[in-house]
Chain length 332, copies 2
């Protein structure tokens, strides 16, 4: 029993078209009819049905927001940013938890059923060609936080992970660490490979080669078990570059549990700079991703893709910066 166009038209004494046009920006309506319609709509409490109009316009203002990082607190910040930015752009997020999805291809058909205007993939672990499926289906898509040098041509926004690896290496070298390690996220995550490459390349210039280990997930637990193992197999490492803040925290707790003091005995540097990294009891030295900018740019790219579907996908890389706190020894 919601109010329809019909009802408003009847009350205002005009045709359906007139009402429709009143609510369509840029349509041709005289001031007089517009006024009549607006009064009637007001009185009736009319709201156009987006879904019905999507039938003809093909627009729903719905954006599929896909992620599989629901165990990494950093992503709550990301979701916060995305929901705000989308809201600003008059777009609505249809949230998909990909780890709950038995089959990724299902999410495509689902999103097609709902006629989403675009898709944002917010994930550092999804394979770089995941987003391509949507692109191929003609749906504007951007993959945020997941850039990789091997990724195919779809919209992408991310830091330069190779650069992040460099920065980590430079920082560790600068602090005088000689035996360093890399504790990456899941080995098959494309971002991990890039970070490692950058890290390695820079170390090589100093004739250093890192110990390398991988956690099975971007999570505290994974970081903890990986580091427990690593401290056994490579106890000589003096500082670790961790693929992610939450992994770093798990790793640090593993080190603490084995009696190592941070940063006196062993150093850690993370990546992301999630809010939590600044908490006193964490105080993690880390590499900051410009999340706000990544999100803003992603939404902007999506808007462009919606406005002009023929536009070629864009790829933007943003710079990352070091945030020095207390898990690395001071510059020697």
């Amino acid at each position: 029993m919601p109010i329809t166009l019909q009802d408003v038209a009847a009350r205002a004494g005009v045709s359906k078209s007139a009402v429709s046009r009143t609510f369509t920006p840029g349509a041709s309506v005289s001031a007089k009819t517009r006024a009549k319609v607006e009064v009637a709509a007001q009185e009736l409490g009319y709201m156009p049905n987006v879904l019905a109009s999507s039938l003809t316009t093909g627009r729903t203002a719905l954006i599929g927001l896909i992620s599989n990082n629901f165990t990494n607190p950093y992503f709550l910040e990301i979701f916060d940013l995305f929901t705000r930015a989308l809201r600003q752009a008059e777009l609505r997020p249809l949230l998909i938890n990909l780890s709950a999805e038995e089959d990724a291809s299902k999410s495509l058909s689902m999103l097609r059923q709902y006629n989403v205007d675009g898709v944002i993939v917010a994930s550092s672990t999804l394979p770089p060609d995941f987003a391509k499926v949507f692109h191929d289906a003609g749906i504007p898509v951007v993959h945020a936080f997941g850039w990789s040098s091997e990724a195919p041509q779809t919209g992408r926004v991310s830091i330069d992970n190779t650069e992040a690896g460099h920065l980590a290496a430079v920082t560790l070298i600068e602090r005088g660490y000689q035996k360093v390690g890399f504790l990456g996220g899941p080995q098959n995550a494309a971002t991990t490979a890039d970070r490692l490459r950058g890290f390695r390349t820079e170390l090589e210039t100093q004739g250093l080669v890192p110990e390398v280990q991988f956690a099975t997930a971007y999570s505290y637990e994974a970081g903890r078990v990986a580091m427990t193992r690593a401290l056994e197999s490579a106890p000589e490492v003096e500082a670790w570059f961790c693929g992610d803040d939450v992994i770093a925290i798990g790793a640090m707790d593993a080190a603490t549990a084995l009696g190592r003091r941070i940063p006196a005995d062993i150093g850690f540097i993370g990546l992301n700079d999630m809010n939590m990294a600044a908490w006193d009891r964490i105080a993690l030295t880390t590499i900051r991703q410009p999340a706000q900018q990544i999100v803003a740019t992603s939404v902007d790219l999506i808007r462009q893709g919606i406005a002009d579907p023929t536009k070629a996908p864009q790829m933007v890389l943003l710079p990352c910066t070091l945030v020095d706190r207390k898990t690395l020894r001071a510059r020697s």
Copy 2:
């Protein structure tokens, strides 16, 4: 250019109705036509357009998932659970970040425009009558994590916050604490009042009266500043019951910063039992909300509400339990 009903009908050599019925559970189609249609649909890659069908059926399978707790890591766990449970129920979350919304009433009209089948409010800080708006608009709604004894008649699922207050008090008494404090969440959050009431009542039986303080938000920062203030104004308090884990962590860091050792000098008990509470460097003794059950029940209530809109809203209270870790001194 997506495939439509029409296309499938043509290919299968049947009427539109036949195709429609094939995809409508419980409709009358012979096995033979169903088979023909399915083949054709398969070949063409047909997917029914949910939005179009919603026009006649009135169903969208869309559920508004509203929250304003995007800074509390606990809620990432909640979102994870909700997306999974909704997925299981073949429902899709349209995510709304209420803190980004300038005006709450806008979210109602927005959700109406999208014809959502139901609304889940996942928040401990939203006023208890917030959900009522949807109920009054005829949209099935359940407010999860926000029960309050003064809440109006809408669907609700939560722990019994008064009971949680009791439990906290009993625990502190049992450990021999005499001077205790309550550091609640935002003072106007209804859940806060209930927790305080339960806490106070139980303490009274022992002739104790708590110091009470409020944080301005459910966040680390808010907990930290509130506790810094509290340690100044009420330094004699030996143990604090904090309205939430993340507040507790902030509070504990404030205490540590002022040189108090936990639990030797001062004790803390939280509420929620978020994953992070179990991290070594946190090891928070806390009261556990059965999040999984709260979510499952909420989704179930929504399903019932959709199935039978005349059904009276249900309210369910779930029990909470103590999780003992390391921020309270041992039982004396």
